[in-house]
Amino acid sequence: MGNKFKLDVVTPDRSFYSGETDMAIMRTTEGDIGILYDHEPLVSPLRVGSLRIRQDDQTFKWAACSAGFVTVNDTVVTVVIDSAEWVDEIDMDRALEAKRRAEARIYEGIDKEVDVVRARAALERAINRIKLREVRK
């Protein structure tokens, strides 16, 4: 087990995670990156996807997260995202409902530009949640 670093994950409605870990993997707009102890300073946007935090027993704790960004500096890794939930917190019914609603909106609102963009984002988030929940139960 490697050295640990401090990781903070904040969302608008709560401080999602604050603690130490030796490895965290998250999805940036350029692809997944893993962060270990003493990573070089970095700022990068995150896209809808997953966040993995390695725990003391070497297993990963998975969370579904939406867009945001990560900053790495000498002392702390900070992940700022719009929303996040641990895999076991995901409300499957709600995600399925959101998916259905988003699909309907995309189907109906083809001529309304803004609506579709938002619905697509919502659909992406819903699918992300459903997928994570099914795979990482």
């Binding site: 608008p12 940036t28 970095l42 700022v43 946007p45 960004f69 900070t78 719009d82």
Partner: protein, 286 residues
């Protein structure tokens, strides 16, 4: 006869008393709401502060970054996002916010407003200010989605060049007894002072590029600042209302005390008069 006098006073006491009951109840309600609003404020603060720090860090560490959001262009037209309450009876809360916004307006033509809250909207409409949009009935319980809607409208106006700057006017929650109306420039972002030379050498990687990162982070920054402003204003509103209601209750109590005193005096005078009448009558019969 003094009897009608005491009856009048009694009626006055009753009316002041019922007013006091209302103000007392409102005070309790806003105390409870304030507690909730403060809790929310504590939860959102870390998020708000983290984003703010990140933006300043990125801008401060690299002076060469070019973006539309940091310009030295002259500011002519300004959009003011004014956060007020929907309901009154909160002392100078709304008046202070509006004053803070208007004291910066030089020319009516070049100022646009985005009003949050019914009170602000009413005042601005009455004075014929240009209102780009208004958000009503959200100021007591602002959600993140409201902030992103407001941010979207504001940045759209900015990107289209209809305004050169965006200012957020909200009420900062200094403490439960002190709230300060504050004006904050959202856009263009003022470039922070260049960081010390040796610190500048520290190399930060921006993935994929600094411009791309800023393009993402700055709208987030605006959104979260507006959200922070909404949340803080909501707490300030309740605090202001609590204080206003508290002093109203105190005043009512004072008035009641005075009225009770004059009631007793009038009653005493009536009794004295009656006695002297009886005594006078008895004396006359002797």
């Amino acid at each position: 006869m003094a009897g009608s006098g005491t009856r009048d006073i009694k009626r006055k006491i009753r009316s002041v008393n019922s007013t006091m009951q209302i103000t007392k109840a409102m005070e309790l309600v806003s105390t409870a709401k304030l507690k909730r609003a403060r809790k929310r404020m504590d939860i959102t603060k870390p998020y708000f502060e983290t984003i703010q720090k990140a933006v300043l860090e990125v801008l401060g560490s690299d002076q060469t970054i070019k973006t539309d959001y940091v310009t030295d262009k002259e500011i002519v037209k300004t959009l003011y996002i004014v956060i007020t309450s929907d309901r009154g009876l909160c002392g100078g809360y709304n008046a202070n916010v509006i004053k803070a916004a208007l004291e910066n307006v030089v020319d009516k033509e070049n100022a646009q407003f985005l009003a949050v809250g019914r009170r602000g909207n009413e005042v601005l409409t009455r004075h014929d200010f240009m209102i780009a949009d208004s958000f009503l009935y959200i100021s007591e319980k602002p959600e993140h989605i409201h902030a992103s809607q407001i941010a979207k409208i504001a940045t759209d106006l900015y990107n289209k060049g209809e305004v050169d700057a965006i200012q957020l006017v909200y009420t900062r929650f200094a403490s439960t007894i002190s709230q300060v109306a504050t004006r904050l420039q959202l856009l263009p972002i003022e470039r922070p002072e260049s960081i010390e030379e040796d610190e500048l050498k520290e190399f930060i990687v921006y993935e994929p590029s600094p411009e791309e990162v800023l393009k993402y982070i700055i709208p987030k920054y605006i959104e979260s600042t507006i959200y922070g402003g909404l949340i803080e204003s909501a707490a300030s509103e309740q605090a202001a209302r609590r204080i206003a209601m508290e002093s109203a209750s105190d005043n009512a109590e004072e008035i009641i005390d005075e009225l009770v005193l004059s009631y007793n005096q009038a009653r005493q005078a009536a009794i004295t008069q009656e006695i002297s009448e009886i005594v006078g009558g008895a004396e006359a019969l002797k």
